[in-house]
């Protein structure tokens, strides 16, 4: 049962009025349904768009998780849907448990569980979905909210406990997951997002961009009120902005081990959108948080429950040739663009390593760190269109991915972790270089 933590006055009070009185951001029918839900202790947000293949199982696990770990608490599932046409909202709503349906196969539950769906648009806009969940959470006075991705097929009911209990019982504000991953899975996170967040913001958050996470009412209200929701920027990358807002606001952050990470439909062609949502947002937020991170050195661990990282090592077939080719041709073709972004030394070094053979290819940690930092600085100065800068990073990332794969081809889990740690230390060590570039001649 949720502990009755002494209520803390929220400092964001004036802002609440502005948000709730917004010109009908939430549809009327949805507000009416929220009236019927009333107040909840635990809220699960589940944004969807044509996820009928996977959402049924996800919702079943969520329901089980609530019934097992929060059976006495008031709970609700909120489903912001982007206009699905395959019956996804109906699947989510069917997870409600109430006394209206008199099915005999009903399992026993203490309380009513509301599962309500609302349509927020005709195409996916993750920012709007998150905003809907935050607004609903504020109206329902949810003490802890978890955001779950509709295609997390590997989700288990324990995930809700892992993510929500630290919020409910230990007064944390943000709980991010840690996963069991294949050692070559999520390279953008292990080679860029994690080290950069760690070096720049000083916190060792393994998964700063997560498909599922949980947060407290304090953090939710703060983010809802303080963010420029109409900005183009908020449409992309709201998840990582959320994490960074928590860091910037001094909120208590923890991570909790959940299990295996599932992947659906994420392919190489998705690299550029992935970069936009993560690196683009990260570089953007670094702009406004400069005064916060410029003074930090080193990094601190954050409270972790369960393993911080786990790697599976089963052999994976990876098209290394393709990675290499894309890196090589990228460096070649984008030279004119790189000239505006990278320092001459870095560019020269990159051109040198394109000459290497595919099997002994090396993209050293130091070079990668410099690459990333130079990109960050170029993004800050907007030497060319910022979106183009992000796109230009893609082939270089592929090169780094290949190098990492080769480096860790036969490595054990400990070995991989060691290499990642060394990379992080390099990022931390070269932070002065970043600062120099960032504040250098405009």
């Amino acid at each position: 049962m949720l502990d009755e933590t002494p209520t803390q006055e929220r400092s964001a009070a004036p802002r609440d009025e502005v948000v709730l009185a917004d010109e009908g951001f939430l549809p009327d029918d949805f507000v009416r349904q929220l009236i019927n839900v009333g107040e909840v202790d635990v809220l699960i947000g589940l944004p969807t768009h044509n996820n009928a293949k996977t959402v049924g199982a996800v919702v079943a696990e969520i329901q089980e998780g609530i019934l097992q770990w929060f059976s006495r608490d008031r709970a609700a599932i909120i489903n912001p849907d982007a206009g699905s046409r395959d019956g996804t909202p109906e699947l989510v709503v069917s997870a409600s448990i109430d006394d209206v349906r008199r099915s005999d196969a009903r399992r026993f539950t203490l309380r009513t569980l509301h599962s309500i769906s609302t349509r927020y648009g005709t195409s996916v806009a993750r920012g709007t979905a998150l905003r809907t969940i935050l607004a609903a959470g504020e109206l329902l006075r949810a003490r802890a909210t978890a955001l779950i991705s509709a295609d997390s097929t590997s989700i288990k009911r324990d995930w809700l406990r892992a993510l929500l209990k630290p919020i409910a019982n230990d007064d944390f504000d943000l709980v991010l997951p840690t996963y069991v991953r294949h050692k070559f899975d999520g390279l953008l996170i292990t080679n860029l997002l994690y080290p950069v967040t760690r070096a720049v913001y000083g916190l060792r958050i393994r998964e700063p961009y997560a498909a599922e996470f949980a947060f407290s009412s304090r953090l939710g209200s703060q983010f809802l009120g303080a963010s420029p929701w109409n900005d183009e920027a908020m449409k992309e990358g709201c998840e990582i902005r959320f994490t960074l807002a928590a860091i910037a606001g001094g909120f208590r952050i923890a991570q909790s081990f959940v299990g295996a990470k599932s992947h659906i439909e994420q392919r190489a062609a998705d690299l550029v959108p992935a970069l936009r949502q993560t690196v683009g947002a990260l570089f953007g937020e670094m702009e406004s948080h400069f005064s916060l991170w410029s003074g930090k050195t080193g990094s601190q661990a954050i409270s972790s429950t369960g393993a911080e990282h786990e790697f599976t090592l089963d052999p994976q077939r990876i098209n290394r040739k393709r990675l290499f080719e894309m890196f090589r041709s990228g460096v070649l073709d984008l030279e004119s663009v790189f000239r505006s972004i990278l320092s001459p030394a870095t560019l020269e070094e990159l051109q040198r390593i394109t000459g290497q053979g595919e099997d002994d290819f090396e993209y050293s940690a130091e070079l990668w760190v410099k690459t990333v930092y130079e990109f960050a600085a170029a993004h800050h100065k907007a030497v060319i269109n910022r979106d183009h800068i992000i796109q230009a990073l893609a082939p270089l990332f592929r090169g780094r991915a290949l190098a990492f794969i080769l480096e860790n081809k036969n490595a054990s889990a400990a070995g991989v972790e060691n290499n990642i740690e060394n990379l992080c230390l390099q990022f931390e060590g070269l932070k002065p270089y970043l600062l120099e570039l960032w504040t250098g001649k405009e």
Binding site: N36, G38, D98, D99, F108, T109, L110, T112
Partner: protein, 546 residues
């Protein structure tokens, strides 16, 4: 005012459960008696009840509050004698109040002469009146009811050198209903009281009358046959009298006790009661509506008996483990309050003395289909004493005034049959009849008011029920219908204010008339009917199409 001659009088009854022992002491010996009870009939008439259920008053060693009977055709001398009883009965009938007494069929006290005879030797004519066995292995698998005190349903009798069967305390041996002599004798006992004028019996512990190997010894067909026979004779010789079953079973298992209207007239709806308490704590109507969905239809001459509390613990036998744990945690945090899979507390302390919540619970009690029972003292909000053993904490003397012994008795406080409640919240200086009768807004006055409103419509006692399922799960709403009367009941189970939209399209064009103030509310149209309710508030609306 004479008794209303109506074969279905029990459908319109409001029953007041009272124990003569702790109601009013007229002779100053510290124990309540029948003459005292008679003197207090005016109060009961003023309250508005029209039936009394008396707890056992037969001679008894009182090791189980009188349910261990030593003589079936007499009155415990502490309470008076048969003449006192008859005098009281006559006065009650004059005031239009019917009297229902206990009839403990299943067992007697081990002090009863029958048992004394039965155990004396194997050849005694009364031997077969009880269930004897040389071993204690018969009827294995039968559950033990008093878990906190008994280890087995068999007890060894050193005099008889055999085991005897007892479903309750070991000093309450079960009668053997396979013996026709037993059945005849028990009918004679009932006849004795019926001839005295008693209007009905509450038959205690009826599921356990007979035992058969290989069963759980509850609700057996043989038991039903015996009960049907009693009913047949009752209808034949004493029409208009009533049989009320005390059978703590799931609704589906209770249904057979109504049979085709030829067994019991009424039965307690045990499973509903804890769910009402659960509903207000969870602030969710689901437990209540679900048990009502599982409640079977009963013959039209039969009636459920509803209650919030009684002389026993608030039993949690008929709930799941999850529910029981929840109820324990929210209502009986202190372990001493827990007993025998139940909670031994009175209504007001259970609800934290929240007046609005007490009113709501009473409102639901009065408006659900069935005959409501008010446990003595709950109409003024009496408290309990968990330090008294067993279930005595809810059986303290009635609090009449703020004076000597709360007006219950003129005897020395130390010699009272049970100590008065004294704490500043529930003690008799704070909670007593005199104060509440003088205050128009007291709980007593309110209860009197709502009983009057309930009486103003037949729909409550005789009507059908149809639940509305508004999306707001904290609202319990239903329609009671009878002939040409339609009543809408809306209850807010939550401590916080609520808004609810009801789908009343079927009743389009009706004006809602709130039944206690008689003010009109907006007419029902096409759109969902919006109501707002305050903390624990409820409405009874009469629907009227002009």
């Amino acid at each position: 005012m004479a008794l209303k001659q109506d074969p279905l009088w029990y459908k319109d009854a409001v029953i007041y459960q009272v124990h003569v022992r702790t109601f009013y002491d007229s002779n100053g010996d510290g124990i309540g008696d029948f003459l005292g009870l008679e003197q207090r009939l005016d109060y009961l008439q003023e309250l508005g009840i029209n039936a009394l259920w008396l707890m056992p008053f037969f001679p008894s060693p009182l090791r189980d509050a009188g349910y261990d009977i030593a003589d079936y055709q007499s009155v415990n001398p502490s309470y008076g004698n048969l003449d006192d009883f008859r005098k009281f009965l006559k006065s009650a009938h004059e005031r239009g109040i019917r009297v229902i007494i206990e009839m403990v069929l299943n067992h007697t006290s081990d002090q009863h002469p029958w048992f004394q005879q039965s155990r004396s030797s194997q050849d005694n004519p009364y031997r077969d009146w009880y269930v004897w066995s040389d071993t204690d292995t018969r009827y294995k698998g039968t559950r033990i009811i008093f878990l906190d005190t008994e280890m087995s349903n068999w007890a060894w009798d050193p005099i008889s050198k055999a085991y005897f069967w007892h479903r309750f305390f070991s000093h309450q041996p079960d009668l053997n209903y396979d013996n026709p002599a037993v059945r005849e004798e028990m009918w004679d006992v009932m006849k004795f009281w019926l001839e005295a004028g008693v209007d009905g019996f509450r038959l205690d512990a009826v599921p356990y009358l007979t035992e058969r190997e290989g069963t759980n010894c509850e609700n057996l067909p043989e038991t039903h046959a015996i009960l049907k026979e009693f009913r047949r004779r009752l209808d034949e010789q004493f029409p208009g009298r009533m049989l009320l079953a005390e059978a703590n079973q799931w609704p589906a298992d209770l249904r057979p006790y109504f049979a085709d209207g030829d067994e019991f007239h009424m039965a307690f709806h045990f499973p509903l009661m804890p769910r009402m308490f659960m509903g207000v704590k969870l602030e969710d109507r689901k437990p209540i509506t679900e048990i009502m969905q599982q409640t079977p239809e009963i013959p039209v001459t039969c009636q459920w008996c509803l209650f919030l509390r009684n002389h026993d613990e608030l039993t949690l036998e008929m709930v799941t483990d999850i529910e029981r744990d929840y109820m324990y945690d929210v209502y009986a945090n202190n372990r001493t309050m827990r007993l025998n899979l139940g909670i031994r507390r009175r209504l007001a302390p259970l609800l934290d003395n929240d007046r609005r919540c007490i009113e709501l619970m009473n409102g639901i009690l009065m408006s659900l289909p069935g005959t409501p029972i008010i446990y003595y003292g709950d109409e003024i909000g009496m408290g309990d004493n968990v330090n008294l053993g067993d279930r005595d904490g809810v059986r303290t003397p009635m609090q009449w005034s703020g004076g000597w012994n709360g007006g219950f008795s003129s005897a020395d406080p130390e010699s009272l049959c049970a100590p008065m409640i004294l704490n500043p919240i529930y003690g008799y200086p704070a909670i007593n009849v005199i104060s509440q009768r003088r205050t128009p807004h007291s709980l007593f006055s309110w209860t009197r008011g709502i009983l009057a409103v309930r009486k103003s419509s037949r729909a409550f006692g005789h009507g059908s029920i149809e639940f509305l399922y508004p999306a707001n799960h904290r609202i319990l709403a239903y329609i009671r219908r009878c002939e040409n009367e339609t009543i809408l009941v809306v209850n807010n189970l939550s401590k916080t204010a609520q808004a609810v939209e009801l789908d009343l399209r079927r009743f389009k064009g009706n004006i809602l008339i709130e039944m206690s103030g008689k003010n009109i509310f907006p007419r029902v149209g096409e759109l969902p009917y919006l109501l707002t309710l305050g903390s624990y508030q409820f409405f009874w609306f009469r629907l009227r199409k002009v």
